[in-house]
């Protein structure tokens, strides 16, 4: 009897072991390497010297430069997330209420952007907003402006590029949540005298919050970790934290400092995910992207 119980207890671990080994090898072990690197030092020629030094941590944690860029990154990611929620919710609602072939078609449209490279999608804004791009050409042609407007290469275009990239994640997560709401609850609210707006505010919206939150956490984490959007659509000073990591590792050959900066970003984003998990549970995200 005891053997059967022990066997039953072991079974989940046996079944999970391939995944656990894979995660350990591909995630935990490399992460440990990064932790070790963070205590090493850069040599004068750009190599690394194995040592135990807190100098990189001290520099990253006390230097206002890194803190300011981190705050700026969090701010841009937060604005992007809010915009995605505002734009994405009505779209998700519309898709969730669509019926039959229309719903499948709309879901297909939502998936389409994933078939095109993120870099290509980001660069497409240059052809739209550039001095000789589609929008300026249109405005010039209809006489609204006399000379092209400079629209590219600032923080607004960085946020625009991020919203373009992240919106499908928000819509899909919110859609899953809205689709799972029992319509009988809305009917019950209506039968009890609530008008459509009250029904939405009192029933639909609260029940869809888990999906909205899952979309928000995905948008925030992906947005805060982005590197390519500010490079393509940003101006000289529109850098995000991932750009600092790239510069430390690739341009400055300072892998130890790059390791510290990577870990700092990981801790901030990890805190956001853990907070979400505390209140909502990570399972909701799995539903949205699964």
């Amino acid at each position: 009897m005891a053997t059967i119980e022990q066997s039953e207890k072991r079974a989940p671990w046996v079944l999970l072991s391939p995944a656990l080994v894979t995660i350990a090898l591909l995630l935990v072990v490399p992460l440990m390497f990064i932790v070790v690197y963070s205590f090493w030092l850069r040599t004068s020629v750009g190599g690394v010297e194995a040592a135990f030094s807190l100098a990189n941590w001290q520099e990253a944690l006390t230097d206002r430069f890194y803190r300011d860029i981190l705050i700026s990154t969090v701010r841009i990611a937060a604005i992007t997330t809010i915009l995605c929620a505002i734009i994405g919710y009505p779209v998700a609602y519309f898709v969730a209420r669509a019926r039959g072939v229309n719903r499948g078609f709309l879901l297909l449209l939502l998936m389409l952007p994933f078939w095109v490279s993120y870099i290509i999608r980001t660069m497409s804004w240059i052809n739209i907003l550039g001095v000789s791009g589609a929008l300026n050409s249109l405005l010039l042609a209809i006489g609204v402006i006399d000379e092209p407007i400079q629209m590219l290469y600032n923080e607004v275009t960085v946020i625009l590029g991020l919203v373009h990239f992240l919106l499908p994640f928000m819509i899909l997560n919110t859609y899953v949540s809205l689709d799972g709401i029992d319509r009988a609850l809305e009917d019950a609210a209506n039968s009890l005298g609530a008008n459509p707006m009250q029904t939405f505010w009192e029933v639909t919206l609260p029940l869809s919050v888990p999906g909205l939150a899952a979309g928000a956490v995905l948008c925030f984490v992906l947005g805060a970790g982005t590197y390519i959007t500010p490079v393509i659509l940003g101006g000289p000073t529109d850098a995000m934290f991932a750009n600092l990591v790239f510069e430390a590792i690739i341009t400055q050959l300072d892998w130890p400092l790059g390791a510290v900066l990577s870990l700092m970003l990981l801790v901030v984003l990890g805190a956001v995910v853990l907070t979400y998990n505390r209140f909502m549970g990570l399972g909701q995200i799995a539903k949205g992207i699964g």
Binding site: V45, G46, G47, V131, G235, P236, T237, T251, Q252, L253
Partner: protein, 380 residues
């Protein structure tokens, strides 16, 4: 006698008691080891049994010219395949090399003498037997000497081409006279605010900062003034570009009117019909590119490939494709009709008109300046 027959005889001797069990197993093991080293896996252990050589460069038309003029004829003659890889920047490539096994990367098309010095200082340099590269005699001697000076007389590369990072400007908005009058300071002119560009490379920004503050880029005395010039440029600039394609797009689309730019890329824009001027200011940024051979490479095979790449027909084809003059000495080789028209071309072969970065000076300040530029670039 085939291997099967040998094995049967050995087993028979063992069965007859002519040899002991230990000796029988020992001979079997030796036979296995001997067979193993002649298998494909064993071939990997033979350093000189080379089946392929890896080359990494900038891709595009240059890669095509190499493939047609050097790699394919080389493979036809030697049977050694050339694996052709690309990279986006020298910094990115160095990061790759640092994480690779010795011998994984062989030849790289690197920029500048300071890159050569960086690779050498990090222990990636090899030692070429120049007797195996007869076409090296056709190269401008000055280009070879600067590399020898870095690596203590040994040579880990062959020079391949050279160019400048000068000032590129849209003639519709900026005249040739205005450009010559203002020189590098045109990048700090308020009149062109929002229409100025610049390469996001710390060396180029500091070099031009030195020119804008009337200093010798290879001996800067007032670094604060240089940082201030870089800050002023940053605040006037629309965008720091990060690649040749982006540089060409920004100028061609008139997003910017003036920037510093790579001579070959600006020539390509002119060839496409864009009215873009190019001006090398006094002490403008001259540079050369080389074919660097990594430590651990199959040297004989690599030296033969380098000789193919340096052959005049290959060098000229690559130069015409990328619009940078080849390292070949014009006094020894007829470079055809297009190359003498390229910006930065020196018909004398002395290169006395170009200022190159002093690798000791620039690499000695790399750690501090690259980090500081990262901050200044972001508004500090």
């Amino acid at each position: 006698m085939d291997d099967t027959k040998r094995y049967e005889r050995l087993r028979e001797k063992f069965g007859n008691g002519d040899i002991g069990r230990r000796k029988f197993l020992g001979l079997l093991g030796a036979a296995g080891a001997a067979y193993g080293v002649q298998m494909p896996f064993g071939n990997m252990a033979f350093a000189q049994d080379v089946s392929e050589v890896r080359f990494d460069g900038w891709g595009g038309v240059v890669s095509e010219a190499f493939r047609e003029k050097a790699f394919d004829p080389y493979t036809a003659k030697t049977g050694i395949k050339v694996v052709d890889g690309t990279f986006g920047s020298g910094d990115e490539y160095l990061a790759r090399v640092k994480t690779a096994q010795e011998g994984e990367y062989n030849i790289a098309h690197l920029s500048g003498v300071f890159d050569y010095a960086r690779y050498h200082n990090l222990g990636f340099s090899s030692s070429l037997n120049t007797a195996n590269i007869p076409n090296l005699d056709l190269v401008i001697p000055k280009l070879v000497d600067v590399f020898r000076a870095v690596s203590g007389d040994q040579l880990s590369c062959v020079p391949y081409d050279y160019g400048t990072t000068g000032l590129a400007y849209n003639r519709k908005y900026i005249s040739d006279e205005e450009m010559k009058e203002q020189g590098a300071r045109i990048l700090l002119n308020e009149k062109y605010k929002g229409k100025i560009g610049g390469w996001s490379d710390w060396r180029t920004r500091i070099w031009y900062g030195a020119l804008q503050t009337d200093q010798d880029p290879n001996n800067i005395q007032d670094m604060d003034a240089v940082w201030d010039a870089i800050r002023t440029h940053r605040d006037l600039a629309l965008k720091y570009w990060g690649s040749g394609a982006e540089l060409m797009s920004l100028l061609a689309e008139e997003e910017i009117y003036v920037t510093e730019g790579w001579s070959g890329r600006i020539y390509a824009l002119q060839e496409q019909g864009h009215d873009i001027g190019y001006y090398d200011p006094p002490n403008g940024f001259g540079w050369q590119e080389c074919m660097f051979v990594m430590k651990g490479s199959p040297m004989a095979a690599v030296e033969e490939l380098l000789n193919f790449m340096l052959a005049p027909e290959t060098s000229i084809a690559v130069a015409e494709a990328q619009n940078y003059p080849p390292a070949l000495d014009p006094s020894k080789v007829d470079l055809g009709s297009k190359i003498p028209t390229l910006p930065a071309f020196d018909p004398t072969g002395t290169l006395d008109g170009l200022t190159f970065a002093n690798p000791d000076y620039w690499n000695g300040n790399e750690a501090e300046w690259s980090k500081m530029f990262g901050r200044v670039q972001k508004g500090y």
